[in-house]
């Protein structure tokens, strides 16, 4: 597929979908249901606001969402209490599919949401967005409602404060520009058209989510893109500009850990695709250094990108969604 053509046809701005009444009418005509999943871990400062805005604007005022769920990794603060008090369905990740060995990580929550939530479309929104607005949901859901071929819609954030016209660079965060985009350029050039491959906000059709594996850690977003691309091609993707997203900034050291996890995920895909030999074993320890007094000290981080299999392979899921046949 021609990248420029894809960018022209499959890249949207949220303002295109301002008419929520029309969007809800089309959703109801299609008899589609939509679930919102907010994965959390110690997000008491921002979770209340997200629930209040989405419930008021996208459930009460316009019935776009059928379900708002918080899937929590075991917060030590009052995240679950606050979310529940404002009417969200709150689940502890460990209690979903309790027969499975519990794992810790955002990807685990996203994966378990496929089992727990009922919507035909699941939209994932991070809990740490300070400038939350209904557009974060409707901007991602609308391309799925209006474009049947689109299966996976990714957010990007790209409105400059001032622009005089002409050409300007456009891109993602540090890990995207330093790691993910160069890796995609090497192995999956078409995926470079996705402006912010690591953004935590996306809306996906259930049938797609159920058929892809889920790394439980840092690599989940990257894995999704490679796997959906491998199976359905670039045409399955769309992306929506949601203007600005204000969130916590991560330290360079944390981004190092993230990059390490992403590298593991990409390498595992390269092996599966036969691009890299299966005999090559990657290490799972990230080594960073710090200076203590005048001595350099090594700090080791064990980071293993475990993966959950496609949900469709889980018997409980097949039973719940009547797929046993």
């Amino acid at each position: 597929m021609n990248l420029n053509e894809w960018l022209r046809n499959n890249t949207f701005h949220h303002s295109t979908f301002w008419d929520l009444k029309a969007l809800v009418e089309e959703k109801e005509r299609q008899k589609t249901t939509i679930s919102l999943c907010i994965p959390t871990l110690n997000e008491e400062k921002t979770i209340g606001k997200e629930i209040v805005i989405f419930r008021s604007e996208l459930m009460t005022r316009y019935h776009l969402l059928d379900e708002i769920a918080v899937i929590d990794s075991g917060s030590k603060d009052r995240t679950r209490e606050v979310a529940e008090s404002f009417g969200a369905d709150v689940y502890l990740a460990d209690k979903i599919l309790p027969g499975l060995e519990p794992k810790r990580g955002k990807g685990e929550n996203l994966w378990k949401a496929i089992y727990q939530l009922s919507g035909d479309i699941i939209v994932y929104i991070d809990a740490d967005i300070k400038n939350i607005h209904p557009r974060f949901v409707y901007g991602l859901v609308a391309p799925l409602i209006y474009h049947p071929d689109v299966k996976y819609v990714k957010a990007f954030y790209d409105r400059p404060l001032a622009f005089s016209g002409g050409v300007r660079p456009s891109g993602g965060g540090r890990v995207t520009e330093i790691l993910t985009r160069p890796l995609f350029s090497l192995f999956f050039p078409e995926l470079t058209a996705i402006i912010q491959p690591l953004s935590g906000e996306y809306a996906v059709r259930r049938e797609v989510l159920a058929q892809i594996p889920f790394p439980i850690g840092y690599g989940v977003e990257t894995a999704h893109l490679i796997d959906v691309y491998g199976r359905w091609g670039l045409g399955a993707f769309a992306q929506t500009d949601l203007d600005q997203r204000v969130h916590r900034n991560q330290s360079t050291r944390d981004l190092g850990k993230m990059s390490f996890g992403i590298m593991q995920t990409v390498i595992s895909r390269l092996k599966t695709m036969g691009i890299m030999t299966d005999s090559f074993e990657v290490a799972t320890v990230l080594r960073q250094f710090q200076v203590h007094d005048r001595d350099f000290e090594e700090v080791e981080h064990q980071i293993v990108e475990e993966e959950r299999p496609p949900m469709i392979e889980i018997p409980e899921y097949r039973e719940k969604f009547d797929l046993s046949k």
Binding site: E44, K45, T46, G48, K49, V52, I53, R55, S56, E57, T60, R61, R78, E81, V82, S85, F86, G87, K130, N131, I132, H133, V246
Partner: protein
């Protein structure tokens, strides 16, 4: 007490409970309004949001006027009253301040969240609440998010509307986010002024007593504090803020003082202003610094009497909702109504901590009572119980 008013009072606990159920709507409006920066004279984005809300709620004549007020009318069934509900939209914080609002289980915090994002959110939510409560009015309800209210704005938004609107407003309610229990139906006389000293370029720093603008200003402040003030009529001078200088080791070439003169007597406000102006000029003559004396806002004293049916019923409504009233004269929008002889009250909706700080925090639970109080007052006016006796 008239039976009709008793009926209204009896309804209010139910209204309060129903408002609780609509909490998300109020809080969502509060967050979305509060996160739009709206320093005085730059309220346009907040105004646009509010007008859109009015339009979505099916109000009529949703519009902005030439000074940037947000307006919408909920038409009544044909009564002869036009009730204006006004909440000021501006705040003291510009766009450089982080306007993020945090919603906790029992409270909401952020800059100016109580004063007056909550007042504006109540207005934005009111049409939806009335619809959900199945409350229809005979009177026309004019909802207005006013611009240019604070500081140098000098209530220009509301003054403009009252001076130019063709809608014959019969009653006014000023909706303030804080504090629940606050009730004002009269205004005190007020004048907000600024004295600025500037040392001219050609200033002779070798002259005797050359001390710079800050010390000059200090001399003025000392002289103001020496002015004897009467107990009756109650009068005060509030020294609100001082600014001046640029660092540790440079004599200040500029300094300014903002202050407010308040009095139950308009004549006293005028004479004190004259006196302070004279002091400023005299000190200027002695020091050689250039002085500027500016008046930014003025209010005349006035308002309705304690026994006016609007004040009486407002207090009854508060009592029925277990709200402890704190009666105080207002210096806000109320005076624009008073200037035009329109009976009006100002009420608050909830309790707050850290008022005026970036961490301003309002309590969620009392908001239901605050809005129930507002609806009770609207109903009492609508049924004619707050009209002036013939």
């Amino acid at each position: 007490m008239e039976k009709g008013i008793i009926d209204i009072l009896e309804k209010l606990p139910l209204v309060q409970n129903r408002i609780h159920e609509l909490r998300e709507t109020i809080l969502a409006n509060l967050v979305m309004i509060g996160e739009i920066p709206a320093p005085t004279f730059q309220e346009a984005a907040r105004v646009e949001f509010l007008v859109n809300r009015f339009t979505e709620s099916g109000l009529q004549n949703c519009s902005t006027d030439e000074v940037g007020n947000a307006l919408g009318i909920l038409p009544g069934r044909g009564g002869n009253r036009d009730i204006l509900l006004v909440a000021h939209l501006d705040s003291e914080y510009d766009g450089k301040v982080d306007h993020s609002i945090s919603v906790q289980q029992n409270s909401v915090s952020g800059p100016a969240v109580g004063d007056n994002a909550l007042g504006a959110a109540a207005l934005a939510s009111l049409p939806f609440i009335l619809e959900q409560l199945d409350i229809g009015l005979d009177s026309n309800l004019v909802l207005m998010g006013s611009s240019r209210s604070l500081g140098r704005g000098d209530i220009e938004g509301l003054r403009f509307f009252l001076g130019n609107s063709e809608v014959p407003i019969t009653h006014g309610i000023c909706v303030e986010g804080v504090m629940l229990g606050r009730i004002s139906y009269s205004s005190i006389g007020l004048m907000r002024c600024e004295i600025s000293y500037k040392v001219p370029e050609e200033y002779d720093w070798t002259r005797f007593g050359a001390v710079g603008a800050i010390v000059t200003l200090n001399e003025v402040m000392n002289r103001i504090l020496e002015i004897p003030l009467p107990r009756r009529p109650r009068t005060s001078i509030v020294l609100g803020s001082i600014r001046g200088g640029a660092g540790y080791d440079t004599i200040a070439t500029e300094a300014s003082l903002r202050f407010e003169i308040r009095s139950e007597s308009a004549e006293l406000v005028a004479s004190l202003s004259q006196r302070i102006g004279d002091i400023a000029a005299e000190v200027s003559a002695n020091s050689g610094a250039e002085v500027a004396f500016n008046i930014f806002a003025q209010r005349k004293p006035g308002g309705i009497q304690f026994a006016h049916p609007l004040a009486v019923h407002a207090l009854e409504i508060m009592k029925s909702l277990d709200i402890k009233p704190r009666i105080s004269p207002s210096t806000s929008e109320l005076s624009a109504f008073i200037d035009r002889g329109i009976p009006a009250v100002a009420i608050g909706l909830t309790n707050a901590d850290d008022l005026g700080k970036l961490t301003e925090r309002i309590a969620i639970e009392p908001i239901y009572t605050g809005i129930a109080q507002l609806i009770g007052l609207i109903l009492a006016i609508d049924k004619g119980y707050c009209d002036e006796p013939e």
